[in-house]
Amino acid sequence: MKVSYQWLNQYLPLEEKGIQPAALAEKLARTSVDINDVYSPMDGLKKLVVGLVVACEPHPDSDHLNVCQVQVSETETLQIVCGAPNVQVGKKVIVALVGARIKDNIKIKRGKIRGVESNGMLCALQEIGFSEQVAPKDYEAGIWFLPDDAVVGDAVYPYLGMDDTIIDTDLTPNRGDMLSIFGNVNDLAAIYDLPNGFESHPVVESDEAMADQLSATLADEAIAPAYEMRLIKHLHVADSPMWLQIKLWNAGIRPINNVVDITNYILLKYGQPLHAFDYAKLPSHQITVRHAQAGEQLTTLDGEARSLQASDIVIAAGEEAVALAGTMGGQSTMVDEQTTSVALEAAIFDPVMVRKQARRLDLHSESSMRFERGINPETLHQALDEAAYWLAELAGGQVVAGKAVAARPQFADREITLSVRRVNHVLGTELTMAMIEQLMVRLDFAAHSLDDDQLVVAVPARRWDIELPADLYEEIARLYGYDNLPSTLPTMTKTAGGLTETQARLRASRHTLEGLGLTQAISYSLTTVKRAQQFRVAPDQTQPMQLDYPMSSDHVATRMSIISGLLLDVAYNHARKVADVALYEQGRVFLPQGGERPLEEEHVAGAVTGHLTPANWHQAAQPVDFYALKGIVQTYLQNLAVAGEITYVADSSRPEMHPGRTANILLDGQVVGFLGQVHPSCAAEYKIPETYVFELNLAALLAAPKRDKHYVHISKYPAVTRDIALLVDQTITNQAIVAAIKQKGGAYLKQVQLFDLYRGEHLPANKKSLAYTLTYQADDATLKEDDVNQAFEKVVAHLTTTLGAEIR
């Protein structure tokens, strides 16, 4: 809320006590509500003075410009060329002198306009910083006229309220009471311990009785806890006096006419929204507050024809809906220049119903905002009566005696019993009963002690946010001052704390991958449906979870794999000419299983492109290929220490992967992941170069039994090696050969290592040559040549017969 410092000063001796706006704002921020901004409307303006138009002639070379003589001091009259259509001799106007600064820091210079000298500028409000939404509409196309008694040569700011300082507060939802001058005055009186001089004006009713001129009823009591109306007749709609217009525009509200302005003034002063119906235009004078009928039509003040739903709430005159309750009035009963009588409504509407209606229709107003956050029932009568007072005072209206009442505001103080011991226990303070009582006095909350610990506090209805002792702890803490709280650490039973085994292993997993050269990425979990479906480890789950009402088409579904996000990262780097990318990401994927929520599975994935190490003066670049990535994955899996057997099985079924360069990764025969090259077509879609990826179901790997941690005896007897080179068909895999070797390897075979692979020239087509080193070792003796030779021969024979290998 834009709170006027000058308005506050009407009720609180702020200036008198030397409390300046900046300090006040700081104090509010530290004690009450957040502050968006503190500013004066005249900030940045310079040399704007009151001028009197003494003469005005049409410009000889223009059909719309005028050459004005404007008196700006007792002795000085300036010639100023003005384009405003409403310029008029005898009016007091805003003159920007040569050297003045107007809106946007524009400097006014002496100049010639179509050959005629012009020594300044006559200004519209918008030109000195008023926003289009606030500047009165009548002056939209022209300059502003100051009051006739404005003194020529004076600075214009005080005449426009621009010398005020505005403290723009940012309220949390609980402090709806601070959406009024009343609430701010109360809080500041408590904060600074100042006398509270808030004033109301009592209504003066005429002799005319209400009788059946107006009645109000509630069709559903839940809609409006309070609903009252006054009838004011014989009034004259006109512009409001300057003091009122200033109060509104400094609060960001456009002055319209005296009737509407008075309702807005009361809204600001009390936080009580009012609505004025043109009494004559009401189709019936029997007012009902009710739910709308589905499909009911209402054209609101903004000219929009709205089709209502049964959840909406309306004010009806007779059968006809004439306003959206708490949200916006109807066009057909709107106050205009011809209006002479108004039915003035003061109500409290159900916050939730108003909130739903405002959200559904996207109609958020100063009124609806207040209804949503709560209305002070204590001041409803004061607010309604003061509005009537001003309608009499400023519009010459006569207030009909009595009111039409559908529901009176109900309120009572809320009694909360505080324990001094408990207050100190929660805040960590050592406050005494007397200190707490003193703080309650400052808040103007009645309090009396029951014993030396218990204090009963009567919280008035104007602070509807305070319901529990905890709410009062906050009042005590903020008034006592958060700076005065001590700083301690919890002193309590020792708790062990620590990471769970899974948490520790997830962290170790990250460190392993970083050690292997991959940098951690964190990508978006929300993506497109198509990307969410790609690169799934388990291809059987096809449909991702989707948002009901997404914000952007790029983020509509939860990912089912991590790779697609990493590929977007690769693309982002590639587009920025970063060729070498090695990323991993660890996190959740979301797999719908038919339940209310998807299964969230911990996965880890990597994407590598370009070179693992860049070319340098010392060695050639090491480009990424399938085996480079497989090496990373193998070492990573080795670190995970799962007990089961990890195997790699060629897989050509994954649509996003290269059919000849992809392997499923199996743990004891179950697929736990895959690795390989991204299919070139898919890479093209992502606009990325040749990229290798892997993804693993980390949850499954972490859940699997771990390798034995027992020490393995290291033989002290020498090992013997034999090399074997074999020529086999291209289709025979390394894994098949190694398995065959191991099958007939015998008890002493410890290791089989591939050391060469050759295909191409000098070999028959469809053949390849592989060479292995077989290592034999016994734990209890030095092996004899014969034993090794025998074992080796068995392997050779087996390879020849089962794989058709030709030993070379």
């Binding site: 929660v426 001590p486 920025r576």
Partner: protein, 348 residues
């Protein structure tokens, strides 16, 4: 010339030759020549038989002295030459040590992960447990159990991605508060936990807003937990993350799940309160929201608010990283430009 003179001559000549020798092979030749069986010394000693009985031992002793002296000189020269040869070899092997080292591969943790890990380590050290929750949550745990019933105006503070009317992308890691409290047996002592993780808001991404970011939620509930403890805990956090003794100041705020609720500012680490561009010349940085757990939240999780109480806080690692490293665009964290990621290679 007497035998003694001859020996003296041999000594002189031998020492001279040894001194003059410039390489090990030549030195070896000298050794063979001088001390070998056909060498002059041996020849001279053969002439000893012509000496008198009295002379013989004296000359013999003298001859032995000379032999030892020459042998020593040879050894010394040998060592000298070996050192020289090694030095020459080493000199020939000299490298330009300013040439760059061979690149090795090393990855980095993401900067946000670094901050989360730092916080986790800090709190684990203070006896907290770590509770990681699901990112797709029930409305009940994300809002209702945190004292945010449906249609509560404070729900406007957090625009939410809903999946169904009862399931959503969590907007905070606070749901773990309720999930942990209802499981915790307070007879075994207080509950001290943090919950780090990704959270989501229905926001349009720009430099300062992201539909995905991170949160570390903290909760301490026990019989003797005060707001002063909250203040002290936050001071430790500030010191751990920014490395200085920074003051913490609390300002009133509002969260439905805490009462009193506060916003915590820390002294700007950059200017230490003097005012600078990072803190927008206020000397303070707004870093987190916190408060004393609302009695309704305790009650809904089956904890008696008359006996137990505590504090909760929510830290934003993204915001911390932006402040600490003066990152201007939050999207940088999620686009993963490797040149960006690799800047934060500080271990510990």
């Amino acid at each position: 010339m007497g035998l003694r003179e001859k020996l003296e001559e041999l000594r002189k000549q031998g020492i001279q030759e040894i001194k003059a020798s410039a390489d090990l092979d030549h030195l070896n030749d000298i050794r063979v020549k001088m001390l070998g069986k056909k060498g002059p010394l041996t020849t001279v000693l053969r002439g000893m038989k012509d000496l008198s009985k009295e002379e013989r031992p004296k000359v013999g002793k003298f001859a032995n002295e000379i032999r030892d002296e020459l042998a020593q000189a040879l050894e010394a020269k040998k060592a000298e030459l070996a050192t020289a040869r090694l030095n020459a070899k080493l000199a020939a092997e000299t490298l330009d040590v300013t040439l760059p080292g061979t690149p090795t591969v090393q990855g980095q943790p993401h900067v946000i992960q670094q901050i989360i890990d730092q916080l986790v380590d800090l709190f684990v050290g203070m006896g907290y447990q770590v509770a990681v929750g699901d990112e797709v949550e029930q409305d009940e745990y994300n809002f209702e159990r945190l004292n945010l019933p449906k249609d509560h105006p404070a729900r406007d503070m957090q625009d939410t991605f809903y999946v169904t009317p009862s399931v959503l992308m969590r907007t905070q890691t606070s749901p773990m508060q309720a999930r942990m409290m209802e499981k915790h047996d307070f007879a075994n002592g207080p509950l001290k936990m943090i919950s780090p993780g990704k959270v989501y808001r229905r926001d349009t991404d720009d430099a300062t807003h992201s539909h995905q970011f991170h949160q570390v939620e903290g909760l301490v509930v026990g019989e003797h937990v005060t707001m002063a403890d909250l203040k002290g805990t936050l001071e430790v956090v500030a010191k751990t993350l920014f490395g200085d003794e920074l003051a913490v100041r609390l300002r009133p705020s509002y969260f439905p799940f805490t009462e009193p609720s506060v916003e915590a500012d820390i002294t700007c680490f950059n200017c230490l309160g003097q005012g600078c561009a990072i803190c927008k010349h206020t000397g303070w940085l707004e870093v987190l929201g916190a408060g004393m757990v609302h009695p309704n939240v305790l009650k809904m999780s089956g904890v008696d608010p008359e006996v137990y109480g505590g504090f909760a806080f929510g830290l934003g690692p993204d915001r911390f990283a932006m402040i600490k490293y003066v990152v201007e665009d939050i999207r940088d964290f999620y686009q993963n430009d490797v040149r960006f990621l690799n800047q934060f290679n500080q271990k510990g």
